[in-house]
Symmetry: C2
Subunit: 295 residues, 2 copies
């Protein structure tokens, strides 16, 4: 049983020990990791090959006495994933204090404990009878928060920062480099990547960052979020909920993702690879600080 | 209101009209499609550019009188998605007869009607009180079906078929080619792609194929499934449930995906691009019919 308790500074002991003075606060730990296994396979000519692949295991999340969900995850930072999932589902509010997160490795269960009892259990009991599944209920709540969110106009992102971030992130040893078949999300400040999380689902990676921000008391207002995954409506909604004004992706967006970004005033930078990208929403925050044709 | 009724042959009128004699039974329709919109953006030097992106819209699925779920989807083939979702969640059993699928465009709602009333509503009512969300319940049921599934040993896949399939699929005009940020799944027979579905989530694309198979009465026993997405546990479970013995992916697998594939006797072909791939499970079904070093 690992018990993670927030310290007085608002940063957990485990997080503090993970701080890397070279740049990242938290970065992937691919070497010698229990997150990658080697499987024996055959190549296209029938030759035996060793193939590194990421693990995937269930994690059941409880909020106090209430079982909430079983997530499939690569398995690192379960406490951040659990807290971030609850935050991004609006089951934990920004002013809810997490008093402890108890992880039981054997039963693959994590219990998030809060100072005050939340109203989630009562809500769930009331609404599932009419909505068929909690998903409807949760989605309704999320849109209320989304509509109320205000992102800071003053935030900016420079083209030179985007280039520096892409270079730094793409050269960081990661599970993606070691085994592939995984998504990454990186919380960034100006041209510095701060927290790099990976998971089998892009939502889990983002939720782990939300968990870090909630436990460490980090504001999203001056941050940039990078994701390897597509910017669908849910990714846009979560980024806005996290108070982050700029979302940067190696991949593309859906039309509804763009529409929601415009509605919320979120800057959406799509297809960011090497030196290239396309701004799909909130272009007012982008400073084109490099001369045309610059290398 | 579009009403799709299975014909006596077991193929719906809409599906029959979509049959393409050149090879595919159903293939993507990217041209002039309402599935792609053009958004005005700025490139990395601040120049205005037109960016094609896929749409994403909610679809609420009812099973008879019971609201089940709201899915985010690109929006084509809603009747196949609804039926396939219910089949893959074990809410529709193989012997359930779908009497009609009613799509209401205005409310973005699709109602799947069955000959006999299912027991899903009662199950949901009973179990949500203890499990917190229907997801737990559904997962439990799915593992029962998964454990009972038997895939045919006699099925084979030749290396020459894999090459032909990859070439045919990758040269088929698709939403992926037109706009990106979308996943595809293709139901194949030997070296012929039959049904090519795309969606913002790889699960939706697979569910649409499950819907086609259920409505058209198509067996999975002699089929090959191709997916652009990662082979996670859920993708493996769904493929096994659909009775398809061979799963082929452009992307990688997770360790649990491989473990489940081995348990079910599913052949898993990973990282299939151009001429290369790696067999991670069920290699006994692969016929290496090309000479070593063949182009």
């Amino acid at each position: 049983m690992i018990v993670v308790k927030p310290t007085e500074q608002g940063v957990t002991a485990e997080l503090a020990s993970a701080i890397d003075p070279s740049g990242y606060l938290i970065k992937p730990q691919p070497e010698g990791s229990r997150l990658v296994e080697t499987v024996k396979g055959l190549d296209w000519e029938g030759n035996a090959v060793d193939v590194p692949i990421v693990v995937e295991r269930p994690l059941t999340v409880f909020l106090n006495g209430q079982e909430i969900v079983t997530l499939m995850t690569v398995g690192d930072h379960p406490e951040l994933l659990a807290v971030g999932y609850l935050v991004n589902q609006n089951m934990l509010r920004p002013d809810d204090t997490v008093t402890a997160v108890d992880m039981d490795e054997e039963t693959e269960t994590v219990v998030v404990r809060t100072a005050r009892t939340t109203d989630y259990e009562a809500k769930l009991r009331k609404k599932t009878l009419t909505s068929g599944c909690a998903q409807g209920t949760i989605f309704g709540d999320i849109m209320e928060t989304f509509d109320a969110a205000v992102l800071p106009d003053a935030a900016t992102v420079r083209v030179s920062w985007i280039r520096a971030l892409l270079k730094a992130i793409n050269t960081t040893p990661s599970l993606y480099m070691a085994a592939g078949a995984i998504h990454g999300c990186v919380l960034c400040h100006r041209d510095r990547p701060l927290v790099y999380m990976e998971d089998v689902g892009r939502h889990n990676a983002l939720d782990k960052i939300a968990g870090f921000m909630h436990l460490a008391g980090v504001s999203g207002a001056d941050k940039i979020m990078y994701t390897t995954g597509r910017m669908t409506s849910e990714m846009v909604i979560k980024t806005v909920q996290m108070g982050i004004p700029i979302l940067l992706s190696r991949s593309g967006s859906t039309a509804w993702g763009v529409e929601l970004a415009k509605k919320a005033g979120l800057t959406l930078v799509s297809r960011a690879k090497g030196k290239r990208f396309v701004v799909l929403a909130g272009a007012g925050r982008v400073e084109f600080d490099l001369p045309a044709g610059a290398d």
